[in-house]
Amino acid sequence: MGDTSVSRLFIIYGAVICSLGAPIRCNAQQPPSVYAITHAKIVTLTGRPIEDGTLIIKDGKIAAVGAGVDVPAGAQIIDGKGLQVYPGLFDPVTQMGVSEIGAVSATVDSSETGAYNPDVIAATAVLPSSQHIPVTRAAGITEVLAVPGSGGFDFSGNRSVIGGQASAFHLAGWTMEDMQIKRSVAMVLNWPQIQTRTFDFATFTRKEKPYADAKQEYEKQVNELTDLMDRARHYAQAIGHGGPSDFERDVKLEALAPVVRGQLPMLVFANHARDIRNAVEFCEKQKLKMILAGGAEAYKVKDLLRSRGIPVVLGPVLSNPDEEDDPYDRMLSQPAELSQAGVKFAIGSFDNSFARRLGQNAANAISHGLSYDEGLKAVTLYPAQIFGLADQFGTLETGKTANVIVTNGDPLELTTDVKYLFIKGQLTSTDNKQKRLYEKYLNRPKP
């Protein structure tokens, strides 16, 4: 998919995207391209909130933001009195669009079979009409990453080591061309674990194996991985030198070329401290740009992560710790601990159905010691920065893509409603399947 066709489609579909949006003020032929949100409290995340501010959206971008900003002629005005404006939330790990109903394999395209699939790309299998997308954006989430193979297993329970490439996209649009932010933002690596206890899907039983065997298997996997990366490095060098006829094409190695060149980060899923240390060592040796994902025990290796400048995408903080003797609030207090240690992190839902709990997760990190500012940034600016998209997302600044939410309160609080939602500068509906079912059955006559 070349860039030209993408931008051409942007123009074509941009014209009609608003019919996805609220019927109000939206005209299928000529959507207003200029909006002014006035008299709102604007939380830009670049400094102090503007108490009585105006935000101008023009041609999909934030055109101006501030206290004394003039409203351009012809702008659609949204009275923001009593309302608050924030950048849309950014969920950095989901299976949005690539998994519809978890239990039904026919609707799940998130994990390819086989252990090494660097060439598969999430964007290919994102279903734009997935019911998850409107449900999730109603929670104020405007862009996400779909991450393939991130569970470490395919649907049959087979091990996945390199899961494929994660894609970033807007939560609105008719086609992927419409929605796509960046087709490939990271390569997924499930760091191999020394597993003595496994679940055998073939017999549906738990299996135990001796530690020595598990370790041997682990080492075999790491060797395989090392070998693959070495081959990719040689392959990348070959592409750089001779002509195409000088070497045999290999799609998997080709997909890894940007990774070994350090252009595409490796999103490494690991939870235990030992695994994280081993993964860091591996990425360092291989000269890969590493982003840690999961990181349940990141706090144990915080100094290592800080000193190497490795950012973390934490899983949901609303979860219990793995170890029985861990403090009960270990997962809740970890973000504050990482923040204090100077480790850069974002929070992800690692899910589809629970993506709408993203704000709730951030709030719970805040109630356990993280500053409000850092908590909000962990679901807006930091994911954008970690995946190299901060020039477009994460704050309300002139020139950035207008993914903006207008709320009646703190976007992380449980009872807050998103009143207006803009994606690529278009007023986009928060209507969804669940709201429609509610209204339908609310009006069901008495039997």
Partner: protein, 498 residues
Amino acid sequence: MNIRCAIVYATLFATLLASTLSRATPPPLDANPVILIQNATILTVSHGTMENGSILIKDGKIAEVGPSIKAPAGARVIDAAGQFVMPGIIDCHSHIAIEGGVNEGSVSVSSIANIAEVLDSEDVDIYRDLAGGVTTANILHGSANAIGGQTIVIKLRWGQPASKLPFEGAVPGIKFALGENPKRSNFSIPGQPKRYPATRMGVEETIRGAFTEARDYKNSWEAYRKRVSAGEKNVLPPRRDLRLEPLVEVLDGKRYVHAHCYREDEILMLLRVAKEFGFKVRTLQHVLEGYKVADEIAAAGVGASTFSDWWAYKVEAYDAIPYNTALLTKRGVVVSVNSDDAAEATHLNQEAAKAMKFGGLTHDEALKLVTINPAMQLGIEKRVGSIDVGKDADLVIYNHDPLSAYAVAQKTIVDGRVLFDRDKDIADRAALEKEKQDLLAKEKKAEAKKPDEKKPDTSKKPENKPEVKPDDKPKPPSNAVKRDSGEDTTASRTGGAQ
């Protein structure tokens, strides 16, 4: 992990657990502390909110609730200025405190199994859920069977033995399950034939079949008793059937039916079957499509215990809506929000709050979803579920309005005893960590020493020493492994039994 290592681990774990226990060990049972909570915002649930109120706790009960209560001599005073007190949270669907598996999946009617026999009072999830404000939980089997096992209501009396966990006088229950799980849609065991039932039709017939048997069984016992009381001699009693006895209790209204269900059709199916056999369904569990048949559920007088916002994990959850709670409430159904999961239980207050956003329940109505409503569903509303004089002193103190994502439980009180205290928990951590490290060091030392322990023979008999050949040297520990955490990582988190 080899066996030796496993044993070391088990011992270590037991020791660590013992130390965890010490963190929350309540005062001895004979000591009934008098506690006065002062200056709190009291969310009574039964009669509104009281600002700057006090609660006096005596003999494990709420002795007094009022604007200002004088502290009796010797009372422990808890200053809750700026804090909120609410009744302890009641989780109507929990799988904590269960030793071993939660499903007896071999048969479609497993009413012979009883959760009361496998209560595990040392499950750390009891403590974690307490720390999330839960004081009472309905402990259920999984959903592998159309008619599942016998269930029990417990109080989270952390630190006490399993025999002390059951909620005295609470009516025991039985788990039913409809839909995808009992018909085993989402998994099959290779090499094994499909178990009956495999359809929703078969689920109905499994239940009808069992209750037909139970009705006959009940009649045969009644006939027997009649003949005996009429003075007939030498009457042989019917053969006892432990599988049918719980179902007879259901027919007699002595055992509550908690039925796992999702789809509108299966909900109505169960209500029809219950009517046919003359028993009542106490609660519909999950009941994610309950909103589609809210009037029918209300008319049947059946409670609904649901999730706040779970959906799409399987087909029967695809039409789930977070408005379910509010819509059912508005149609007159007693609704509770449950966890089905130990971690979810730690924030049920937050899950209840979502019904204000989705469907516009009031603050009071939302609070009821995790307090008096589940109490009513479990038939324990005279004891717990609201802050009223005479009720059990089961309370949670939060630092904020508990219906906020920023609320953190500070203290949880069960039967008038503070079983969770956040400040104390945090203060004790350094000592616990030290204890753990000391134990690990001790273990390491013991392992390092082990080879030497074989030596005494030789050291006692120095004359043998020269005979020791190099190959006889004790081998170094084969498992010189790092054990910072998890070589025994499980493949997946427990997905509950939803």
